[in-house]
């Protein structure tokens, strides 16, 4: 009995271990039904099971909802990116629609046009880094008058040519005329955005870009919007291509939306222009 007393604890532990191993061995096989032992333990623990499943349901669902909100954030991000892609696609399509509309109108206009185009070549350019003003080799003898609109053929996209606004005739001589381009600081052009129809005014800046503002602060303008002359003020003819918006600057204090426009025409490389005679 001394042996048992000395190793009592170890024997109990070993016994428990063996019982557990037997239980593992029995329960490991696929069982048809629950054993009596498992049934009894299960019935003892079933209140706990129920409680835990209830708590699982309660806490789990609330945590799931928290998790969902976290997931919603990333989902939201993803969807926003998708929206961006779709928006840009939509913008392109709108541009195409707008352009076809424009071209159709242009074609109609050209068909019924009373304008006569006078071809002229640039004879002299104002010295400087870029050409705000230049002179052409046609004058009043060819039917050119003051404030006539000067355009040039430009390629908007692949094989799509449009009239791009160059400027207006400032002074006319008999066989020559002075043309002020739209990037001249003193020359302001009323424009409209073909996508939305919002209007504004652009004027030249000291560098070769155009800067302008929109009449309406709340108007919708995005980078890449194409600008056409609106014809307001009757200085320039309607629906001549100006350029596209390269930057939108929002001035909260003045409540104006300033835009920077990339002109369609490279004013450093003008050699031939067309004058629309009124």
């Amino acid at each position: 009995m001394y042996f048992f007393r000395k190793y009592k604890e170890r024997m109990i532990v070993t016994l428990v271990a063996i019982i557990l191993l037997i239980i593992i061995g029995i329960t490991n096989n696929n069982r048809e039904s629950m054993t009596f032992f498992e049934k009894s333990v299960g019935s003892i623990l079933s209140p706990i099971t129920n409680a835990s499943s209830w708590v699982t349901h309660g806490i789990g669902s609330s945590f799931n909802s928290i998790k969902d909100t976290f997931e919603a954030k990333s989902e939201n991000k993803l969807l926003k990116e998708n929206i961006k892609i779709l928006e840009s696609e939509n913008r392109d399509l709108n541009n195409i629609i707008g352009k076809t509309d424009y071209l159709k109108k242009e074609q109609e206009m050209l068909k019924n046009s009373n304008y006569s185009f006078i071809k002229a070549s640039v004879s002299a350019k104002e010295p400087g880094n870029w050409y705000d003003k230049f002179t052409i080799d046609k004058g009043s003898a060819d039917g050119i008058a003051k404030d006539d609109t000067v355009i040039a053929a430009i390629e908007v996209e692949n094989n799509i040519y449009q009239e791009g606004l160059v400027g207006k005739v400032l002074d006319v001589g008999t066989n020559w005329a002075k043309v002020a381009t739209i990037i001249d600081e003193l020359n302001s052009v009323s424009f409209k955005i073909i996508r939305t129809g919002d209007g504004g005014v652009v004027s030249g800046t000291l560098d070769s870009s155009l800067e302008g503002f929109l009449y309406d602060f709340g108007s919708d303008v995005i980078v890449g919007d194409k600008l056409y002359t609106s014809g307001l003020g009757e200085v320039y003819l309607k629906d001549l291509y100006l350029g596209e918006v390269s930057e939108v600057l929002i001035n909260q204090e003045e409540l104006t939306k300033r835009i920077i426009i990339k002109p369609a025409i490279d004013f450093k490389k003008i050699y031939n222009v067309y004058i629309i005679a009124k």
């Binding site: 428990v16 593992i24 806490i59 945590f63």
Partner: protein, 165 residues
Amino acid sequence: MSTFIVLLMIIFNLVIQTTIIPMFPIMGIVPNTALVLIVVVALKVGRTKGAIFGLIAGFMQDVLFSSTIGINAFILFFIGYVIGFAENSFSRENIINPIIFTIAATMFYNFTYSLFLFFLSRDVTFIDAISSIFSIEILYNTLFAVIYGYLVHIIFTRPKIRFKR
């Protein structure tokens, strides 16, 4: 009284472990808080009670969630028993002990579990076993060892003066 509290903790841990903690996996691995609880409790209550609590916690886990009954009970029983030997060996306020024992116990648990699975002819490879033994679960369990160690320390630190024997 402390037995009752520990039983409550085991049940509470079971609920927590099966409901909330699976929501926060680190690299797909969830901590074994039952193991951690048995480790920190066994350090406080000694080998006999530690073994009994381990047996109870393991059985609860097995009966409720496992088809094969007894694996968790077996492992937690031994962990509670063996770690219970260290009951009075160390300074009680030391937080390092639960951490070290948790690391050892986690590795032992995963080793034994994979061994059981192997002998129960489950599909477990050597790589699986090694990667489960030295997994990030050790770190995650260590985190819970700190929390549970602190909790158990608070519960078991009772006023020294009592008014009844």
